[in-house]
């Protein structure tokens, strides 16, 4: 077999073209990001962080020894005030339109050896599609004895300091 060297330039051209194509393909594929089902966890993580941060902001004492806003809205049963504070914390963005984050808040408390739950704030106006992936964040809220608001649930103990659990479901609408 005689190996002739007639097509050497063609070979070099082939190699150069291949390198060029690989480089082009690399640049193109690095420029786009493919959103796989596994990546939805990253959005969920961010949403959970946002909700926990918003609740933490509301659970800051206003001064030394003072109650927090969150304790006040639960103790005085003020879902309107909760919504007015919580919604902007979730939705407001700088230099962009509001983020359409929806939420539903529930309060759980102990009755004897069982747990009772009651809806605290569930803003209307959202029609669920049945495919709204939600995350859940919780926050402990301590209620101190007097004074008690008449809107508090009937079977909630009023004679002692107690701990209730505020649960918030968050999703993007």
């Amino acid at each position: 077999m005689v190996v002739r060297d007639g097509a050497t330039l063609y070979t070099i051209e082939g190699v150069a073209a291949a390198l060029l194509m690989i480089a082009t393909a690399t640049i193109v594929f690095q420029a786009i990001s493919i959103y796989t089902p596994g990546d939805t966890h990253i959005d969920d993580m961010l949403l959970e962080q946002l909700g926990a941060d918003a609740l933490a902001v509301m659970d800051m004492p206003r001064g030394q020894g003072d109650r927090t806003l969150l304790e006040e809205v639960v103790q005085d049963w003020r879902p309107d005030l909760f919504d007015a504070t919580f919604s902007p914390l979730l939705r407001e963005r700088s230099l962009a339109a509001e983020d359409p984050i929806q939420y539903s808040a529930e309060i759980s408390y102990r009755v004897g050896d069982g747990v009772a739950s009651v809806t605290f704030s569930d803003p209307p106006g959202y029609i669920a599609t049945g495919r709204d992936p939600a995350v859940r964040v919780t926050r402990w809220v301590q209620i101190h004895p007097p004074p008690h608001h008449p809107n508090l649930p009937e079977n909630l103990r009023r004679d002692r300091s107690q701990m209730v659990l505020l649960e918030v479901i968050l999703w993007r609408g």
Partner: protein, 120 residues
């Protein structure tokens, strides 16, 4: 076979090499999505907010002396039923330091175990 044209074999060979290297690149890219998913799941599963919230609430309640047995029972039951986690808090006066409480917080949700002892 003497009349077979032998020109261009190198081009064919390069074609094979390139296709095989592309195959390996594809394997690497497909691994990347799996790694991203397991990392995100690991972070999501870790109950960071629950532990920080429990810790903060226990410290503040013990600090202003409103952490009673009833409150402790509230937290234990609600944590078990709603957050699927067992919590245990032990608080007693520190013998050698006046006005100080020794608090022990334990948290276990079956995956993550957390334990802390501190003075409040």
């Amino acid at each position: 076979m003497a009349g077979l044209n032998e020109d261009g074999q190198w081009i064919v060979l390069m074609g094979f090499l390139i296709s095989i290297s592309l195959l390996f690149l594809m394997l690497i890219v497909s691994q990347a999505t799996l790694v991203g998913q397991t990392t995100a799941e690991g972070v999501l599963e870790f109950p960071k907010h629950e532990i920080r919230d429990l810790r903060g609430q226990v410290i503040s309640s013990v600090g202003d002396a409103t952490f009673t047995d009833d409150v402790y029972r509230d937290m234990r039951l609600l944590s078990l039923k709603r957050n699927h986690a067992i919590i245990s808090v032990d608080w007693r006066p520190e013998p050698d330091i006046p006005h100080m409480m020794r608090v022990m917080i334990r948290y276990n949700n079956g995956v993550t175990v957390y334990e802390e002892t501190l003075l409040v």
